[in-house]
Structures are given as C-alpha cells and as structure tokens.
Amino acid sequence: MALPAVINVHVEEPLKAKDYRSDITPTWCPGCGDFGVVSSLAKAYADQKYDPSAVTTVSGIGCSSRLPLWMNSFGIHSCHGRAVPVAIGAHLARPEMPVVVTIGDGDCFAIGGGHIMHPARRNMNMTVIVMDNGTFALTKNQTSPLSRTGLPGTLASDLGNLDEPMNPIEMMITYGATYVAQTYSANAKHMGKVINEALAHQGFSYVNILSPCPTYNKVDTFAYFRPRIHDINEAGEHTDLSNRAAAMMKASELYQHHHSEDAPVPVGVYYQAQKPVYYEKVKQVQEFYGMKETIDWDNIFDRYKP
C-alpha cells in the first residue's frame, strides 16, 4: 500500500458530530469545561465536512490535551509543550490536510511558550485552540502563565500566584496571527461559530476558550463567568476586525474583570485579516529550485562535479 498522492479532504455526504468522536470515554472530571470543547470541535469538523481520515488533531500533555484521543480523526497526543511544532511538521509535509492543535494554557504558554509565535508570524494555515482553565490540573493545581494574580497553586506560597496573567489575545495579535478570538466553553453557539471561522480561515488562527476546571480553579468558575460573559462583536464595541490597533486596544481590556466587579468577561473575534500563507511561499521556493514531477538526478549530481 502506498501513500495516496492526493487525498480527499472533504466527505461528499455530511457526517454527524458524533461521527467525529472515538468510542473512548473521556477521562475528564464531571463538569469539566473541556466536554463542551470536544463537542463543539466535533460539530465544527462536521460543519466543515472534513473527512475523518484526512484531518489531524494535535495536542501536547495535560487534561485538555487528551482531546485528540476522544476524536475520530488522525491524532497526535505528543509531548508536553510540543504540539505546535509537531503540527507544523504535519502541515508542511501534507499541506492539503487540515491541522488543528488542541492544547491547554500551560502547554501553550509555559513549557511550549517558545513555539507558538513561529507559526503565527509565518501565518501558517492551521488552527490553535487553547482550553484556558488557568491551572495545571493534571498535576493537581499549579498556576499557569494565564492564571490570575493570587490564585492558589501547590507550588505557590499561601499568598497565591504572584504573577500578572499573560494576555494571550494581545500576544497572538503581536505575534502575527491573522485570526484571534476568545470564546467560552459553556456557550456552544458562540464557540461553534468561532471554531468554524477559525477552521475556515486561510492562515494562522488562534482561539482562546475559557474552559473552567471545576476541580482545581475555584475562582474562574462557570458561576463566575455566566453573568459576566459579554460578546464584544454583538454589542457593537468591536467591529472593525482588520484594524490591528483597535484589536490591541480592545484586547487590553481582557482582564478588566479581575480588577472591577462590574467589568464583563469579553468573548468575540478580536482580529481577522487576510495575508499570504506560508506554504504558498514554500511552493515558490520549490518552483525557484526547479521542482519537477520526475527528479532530475543528473541535474542534482552535476553540481558536485569537480
């Protein structure tokens, strides 16, 4: 059996969301926000009419990174922090194949923090979905770069997290992502819309999903988010999506709710722009070096003639 040269990325007849789920039962705690994410992602794969044998879901290590195991797609449950470069390799080797990264906030911004900017600045055609619960849950409660100040953690002192949380929306816009959004795992409608847009986007898309951990994060809970969630696009506060300066300004309000009782928790699309995607440039390089259907070995070896 040889590798097919061309693959069908899409199914002719649409499948149902459940067709994109494996028969493995998730090991997440009852009430975990990530249940909503895996349901939405399966639904979005169905909406995109992806062939389950053509899409690859890549993750790292952590509670949320188990997600590819619960999906019926190609999956790589890789090493802690390394989902993004694994996905890059998969994308560059088979650029016609959709690649989706599903990881946690610790995986993406702590151990894997050196990787995420590179596919963003290169505008590689892939989607990174971060399930942001503000904690390292699989190792039983340590703070992450996205944890709010003062949040308890077993490696923090009794004073809690000393750090200011990093702003992933500002960061991804700065890095050069061309689709940046935040959504909330208990709002299936908004999450489904945003994930679908991210998957359909030509270029690097980043989706931050507020996905509460009921076991370890007792502050950023469903009860906390429910009354505060606020759609910045629907409210008309942020509609000029290709305006990068406006997007940065809006993104700077991301954590206002940490400081003010009345401030909302924003969800919505912050930035969306069309820019050349990386692989188109790779094709130009292949063309530049005279890529042919059949390899011209003489042309290759002649350059080493004395």
């Binding site: 040889a2 449950h77 194949m97």
Partner: protein, 588 residues
Amino acid sequence: MAIDLTIKVAGEGGEGVISSGDFIMQAATRSGMEVMTFKSFPAEIKGGYALSQVRISDEKILSQGDGFDILVAFNGEAYEVNKPLLKPGTVMVWDGPHGGDFEAEEHEGVQMFAVPMSDIAKNTLKNYIAKNMVAMGAVIELFGLPEDSLKSSIHDKFIKKGQAIVDFNYQAIELGRQWIRDNYPDRDVKYTFPASTAQKDVIILEGNQAISVGAVIGGAKFYGAYPITPATSVGNHLVDIMHQTGGVVYQTEDEISALATVIGASFTGKKAITATAGPGISLMQELIGLAVMSEVPIVVADVQRGGPSTGMPTKHDQSDLFACALGGHGDAPRVVLAAANVQDCVDLTVDALNLAEKYQTPVMLLSDASLSIQTEAIPRPNVADYEIVDRDFAKPQPDPSIFNRYQITDSGVSPMGAPGIPGTNYAATGLEHAEDSGPRTNPETRNAMTEKRWRKFDGIEDAYKPIEREGEDGDDLGIICWGMTQSVTREAVARLRAQGHKVSALYPKMLWPMPQKQIEAFAKSVKKVVVPEANYQGQFADLIKMRTNVVPIKFNAYRGEPLIPREIEAMALELLKEEAPKARMAIH
C-alpha cells in the same frame, strides 16, 4: 600507492587557508587524481588557527594519513604549531623572507622555500586577500600541479563576480610562480604532482553534503532543523536539492521543535530527517522517546563534536554514542549507524531512512566534525542501484474504530495508517496504549507492547548487511572500530599486514542494536580484541561489554583530533608484544 602526497596549508582563519585547500583538491581531481581533505578551524568566524590538508594519490585513499609532505605556512602561528612535524624529507613553503610575521629557522633535511606572499599581495597587488593565490602560484610552480586545472577551478569559483576578478586571481598566481622562477632557478624539489590523466566520473562531496545527497536519494521529503555546528551545513546543502525534489526544508526555533516537526511530518506518511550535534541530541531525547512509543519512523543525523556542554564545537569526538543508543528515559529501543567516510555518509543515510521505515523506529546516524568537512571524490551515484524501503502502510479500513494501528504481530511491526488512506485514522500517543492506540496501563498490555517494541529488532543483525572483516581466523589481534576511526584503522591494518603482522579488523556500520553474533564470532577468532575510539570512556567498548561476552581492551583519544594511522599502528605493535592484555590505553 605509486603516488601519495599530502599538502597542508595552515594559517589564520579567514585568510584563505580553507579555500586554498579546496582549490588544490579540485584541481587535483580535475587532473584525474584521487583526493581526500582534512580541515580544522576554530569556532570563531575570523581569526584563530586554521588548516586544510589535501592528500593526493593515484589510488583510492583510505584516510587523511599521518601528516604532511608539504607545509604551506601562512603565518608564524602556523609555523610554530607545525614546527615539531617538520621532519627530514618534508618541504615547507613559508611567508618570507620579508613581509610576513615570522622568521623561519633552518630545519635539518627540510627543504625550505620562502615566498613573500603577504608582501606581494599587499604591495604589488595592493590587496591582501590575494595572499593565498600568490601562495598557490608558488605551489604549482614548485610541485607541478597542472596550471590549467587550477585556473579552471578559480575561473568557476569567481566568474560570477566578473572576469576582472578572475584575471586578478590569475595575476596573483602568476606572481607566485614568477617569484619561484626568479629566486629558485636551480631548485630540485622533492615532490612533484603526477601528470594529468583523464578526469574520472566522480563527484566531490563533504561529509555533510553527502548526508544531504543520501537524504534525497533515500526519499526524504522533509528536513526540519535548528542551526548547530558542525551539523548546520547538512541543511544548507538540502535547501536546493530537497525543494527541487518536492520536499521542504524548514528552520525551526530550537532542536526540540526540529525533531517535533520531523515526527509530525513522518506521521503523515512522508520520510523526514533532521541533523544536529550533541547539544541538540540532548534536547531531542524526550521526542526520540515519543517516536519510539508512537512508532513513527524518523532519522536524526548526529554530527558529533567535542562535549559535554558547548565543549569544542568544531572539533572531532566520538562521544555521543551513549546518548544516541541509550539516551532518554524508559525502555526505548532505536537503531544507531555510524559513517566512516564520505561514501558512508551517502549510503548510510539511505540505510537510515530505510531502517526507520522498515522498523517504524528512530534511527540515529553518527558522523563527526572532521568527517562533516572532509571532502572526497566518490563515484557518481547511480540512484537505481539503491534499494529504497517504504513503510508498511495500512490498507483502507471499513471502520477506523476497529483499526488496530498497534496490532501485535510476530515481527513487532504493524501496518501504519496515514492521512488519505480511508479508515486508517488513529491517535498516536506517547502514553502506553493498546492495539487500537487507546491509552492503557494494565500489566498485560504493558508487557505485550513493550515486548512488541523490542521484538522488532530481534532479527536486525541478520537483516542488515554483514559486517566487513579484514584478516584471518587465528590472528594475534583484532581491532573493532566505528565511525571515522575505521578509515584510519584500514590504513594502519594494511601496513601492519604488509609487515607480516597478524592483525584483523571488524568494521561495523550498525552499532546498535549490538551486532552481538558477529562481534562474538570475531572476538573468538582472534587472540585479543581492542576498540580504538575518540572518546574518554570507551563507549563502544562498554556497549560491547554490556551486550556480548567480549571484554575488549580500550584505546582512547579525546584530544579533539582524529586518530591517525601511525597511532593505530603503534597501538597494535604494543598489544602484539604484550603477553597479558591491558585493560585500557590512552593517547594524548
């Protein structure tokens, strides 16, 4: 060998030492001779001591040899470093009698030619950069290297910059020649290059270029890497030829992501390779484990340098064997190959890709800093002669939920799914898993899967090409060596056997899994066994002790330079006269 001549150019890095060697090598090859070069330079971009040594013969050259016949000393440091090596019978061309930075002494039996290369470049040509060309002019006048060959090499190198630059270099060459004609009219030079013969159908490659060529012959379509001395140039050479063959070269942000991209690429069904050096190997260990666990074929070329830590980035060492064979956590089998010369760098890269595919495993390919820039002329490869192995892709499946990616098989290898093959999707994981790839930690699964991963390699010693052996059963001494040390050992063994000594040698290319049967059979057939290698611990000797019944004597050099044939010869003579074998010998 009727002709066996070694010319060494030495001086400060950045003043054309390396390019002089390259020109001599190319010119000699264009004149139909066999060549091999050895180069060494500091890690700094400019300055420091650099050397380029070219060995020229009319027969196949086995190694860099023992030393030089002709020294071209560009500066005082080069002279001081090489002074102890100026033995009777050698010839020195040096930057004098005026305008250089040193005065050469008289050396008994050494023929000396003073050529004011700095002065001519600076004051006559008004451009110091031409110094090496003046020196080359003197060399061809003195030793009869065909001028046409040299000039054509210079032309090809500089014509991109315009005819004026080519002519300027020709002028510098002529001034060097003229100086010799004017100042040494009655010279009787000890060495002369052989006359030109028909150029052979060869290609000239450096070790790292050869890995690149092997990668494209072997069908690799993805190369992801991070710059690191002395491995970087593998990628430099691939940029052109891999894109041309429809692949992608991708520069990552670190070595961890380099191997991650390679795993991701190979997961999709394409052959993928990276190259790095010791520090990169250290960073990649966790991902090597992922490739073992998830059974993804990958190739990692490790161009070894002096370690640990930053160590000596441009210097020779064979000290990554433990890291490549045993590194990382857990029970993690993998294959380690080691290249001895430029031809090996081509052939073993193809083998590495083939073995990775066949066994769905990481394959580590060892080279080293010296081999990375050693140039050799090798026969033009005939691609049709190479056997290319593709992994066992799974057939289309009716239902992905019952596709067993990690099916337990007798061989330990299971058909692999890939995007585009219907129904073969699965989630690869670094977790222990059942046949269907779902995570599992029960003892039955753990035992079955661990044994599966190791069982793959049960027959690999017989499946891989047999190890070459020199000598006969009953010989007094058996040498087992690996990597570049094989090249110098071959030359030493040829000399020893010519002198009538009963010395055998075994030249394994696959070091791990340990080729136990052949090592034990060889050891049994000789009176004692020694393993010379360029590391302190005797890493291969230790692996042999660990996985066979053989307890070899260790012979170690760890100074940052390759062993030379004369040292192997001396080692053998020492061991031949000893009654009781020594446990360990070292050379400084």
